[in-house]
């Protein structure tokens, strides 16, 4: 009963003191708000770059051209060999005639040239279109396929793909690094703001000690206060993220400049970011208060 009363009192007091020390609370809250907005921006940006990178990477295809005289049995054999390779995501076979038809469907010029070709005299080669699970292994898979009997040439945009992969890898690492660095800076900034605000309440802590409050007893209201400050500071960033991102997504119709660059679908993306923001706010608020009070509890 006593413990419950102490906890209830701590909650009430921490809530009260947020308003009693309004200007100081406002300072902490706005510090949290501003830094969390920057963090939210960084997360939105980096996640979209990541998303774009994975989309592009997912689109990279290996095309294996078969020799013209390959029989159906041999084709089946190649197909099962390819499927037995590691890192294979999907394998699609296109026969000569399927490819001709596709090409003729796409343009009248092709139709007029290709309409007389049949399976035996077409210059077109049957192909396997292969997607891999891991873009980094594309070279290995392509090399393995090119060694197979009946496979003429293997193409996957050599050179370009490797460059793209290493570029995306770099962008990804930089963006993650930036988000982490920002979170650390945020933590540092907020912790210091709270430290300053608590420093001005040294007297309160001193009196609590004087009248016989145990250290935990003193810490709890301040830590709860940090929690409230964290929650309050994350409200505006969360609202901005949710409404801002949805608006952005609608305005650009889900793609940036070209259908090639797709934005991440808002749901559940915005809610995940909100969770991250409030978690950072709360953790940093509580941590800031805790370290700040602890300093004043040493004699």
């Amino acid at each position: 009963m006593k413990a419950i009363r102490i906890i209830l009192r701590s909650i009430r007091d921490s809530f009260k003191s947020v308003f009693r020390n309004f200007s100081l609370s406002l300072a902490s809250v706005s510090c949290i708000t501003i830094t969390l907005i920057v963090v939210a921006l960084a997360i939105v940006l980096s996640q979209n770059v990541n998303n774009f990178a994975s989309l592009v990477e997912g689109d990279v295809t290996i095309v294996a051209f078969l020799e013209r005289d390959v029989t159906e049995d041999e084709t089946d054999d190649i197909s099962s060999q390819i499927n037995n390779l590691p890192y294979i995501e999907s394998v699609v076979y296109k026969s000569k005639m399927e490819l001709s038809k596709e090409m003729m469907d796409s343009s009248d010029v092709f139709t007029s040239v290709m309409k007389d070709w049949d399976d035996s005299n077409t210059p077109i080669q049957a192909t396997f279109q292969i997607k891999v699970k891991d873009i980094n292994e594309i070279k290995y898979v392509a090399d393995e396929i090119s060694k197979m009997d009946g496979v003429d040439i293997v193409k996957y945009g050599e050179g370009m793909v490797e460059q793209l992969v290493s570029l995306f890898d770099m962008v990804r690492k930089i963006s993650i690094g930036m988000v982490i660095a920002l979170i650390i800076v945020t933590a540092f900034l907020i912790t210091n703001t709270i430290k300053i605000t608590i420093f001005s309440r040294k007297r309160e802590i001193e009196i609590m000690r004087l009248v016989g409050a145990s250290n935990i007893n003193i810490k709890i209201p301040f830590i709860l206060e940090g929690l409230f400050l964290g929650i309050m500071g994350s409200i505006i960033p969360i609202i901005l993220t949710i409404f801002g991102y949805v608006k952005l997504y609608e305005k650009f119709d889900g793609q940036l400049f070209s259908p090639f660059i797709k934005l991440i679908v808002p749901e559940p993306f915005i809610y995940l970011i909100s969770l991250v923001l409030i978690a950072i706010g709360i953790l940093v608020g509580m941590f800031g208060s805790y370290t700040a009070v602890r300093k004043h509890l040493k004699i």
Partner: protein
């Protein structure tokens, strides 16, 4: 029975200054004791050690059965709950009302509301501030603020009340009012130790007086023995 027992206490600060040395002192339950002496004689250090704001460098200080020198930082609150402390600068929280300032000292123990109310009203009545419960400290005179501080110090019934120059900021008339309140509290059984510069008060109160000099007890006057002759 002794409430305070000090044996061979010594306090040397980090900067090398020795504030207290070879100090022996016994204070019995229910006594009213003045601690006097010139600036730098160790008065403040002595009482700071009593409520464990400072630790003795060596020797033994026992307050209400607790060995202060061996008290861990995290257990200081156990000692503080047996002691009330009043300062020259009142140390009130300006954003809390008189009532809240006093209730503050009880709330941290998790007492039920009605019990807090009962005790706060009673103690405010004792110091004569019952009708100012809802005011803020900044609206009170110095004497009134000090009475709030005293109320807060005694509201949970401490065995010992330590007063560090409680009248230092007050005029003569107000000081005597505060002394009356303290005497009243002493009569109810609380031991009081008061550090002061004000020889006028010491003369009038006729209590036990401990005169400190360079960190030692120079003289221990029994009740009524001390008479300060003004120059």
């Amino acid at each position: 029975m002794d409430l305070i027992r000090i044996r061979n206490a010594k306090k040397t600060y980090k900067n090398g200054v020795t504030a207290i040395q070879d100090l022996d002192l016994d204070i019995k339950k229910g006594e009213f004791v003045f601690v006097i002496g010139s600036t730098g004689c160790g008065k403040s250090t002595l009482i700071k050690m009593l409520y464990r704001e400072e630790k003795p460098t060596s020797g033994k200080i026992i307050v209400g059965g607790i060995n202060v020198g061996k008290l861990r930082n995290s257990k200081v609150y156990k000692l503080r709950r047996k002691i009330g402390v009043v300062f020259q600068d009142f140390k009130l929280l300006p954003k809390l009302t008189v009532y809240e300032n006093v209730a503050f000292a009880l709330e941290i123990f998790g007492l039920p509301k009605y019990e807090i109310h009962e005790k706060v009203v009673k103690v405010l009545d004792l110091v004569g501030l019952k009708n100012k419960a809802k005011q803020y400290p900044t609206h009170l005179s110095g004497g009134e603020q000090q009475r709030v501080a005293i109320a807060r110090a005694i509201v949970n019934g401490p065995k010992l009340l330590i007063c560090d120059e409680p009248t230092g900021n007050l005029d003569e008339v107000t000081s005597m009012e505060i002394m009356k309140v303290l005497e009243e509290i002493n009569k109810l059984g609380t031991t009081i130790i008061m550090v002061t510069h004000d020889t006028e008060i010491v003369n009038k109160m006729k209590k036990r007086v401990i005169l400190l000099d360079t960190g030692r007890v120079l003289k221990d006057f029994a009740e009524g023995e001390y008479v300060h002759e003004s120059n």
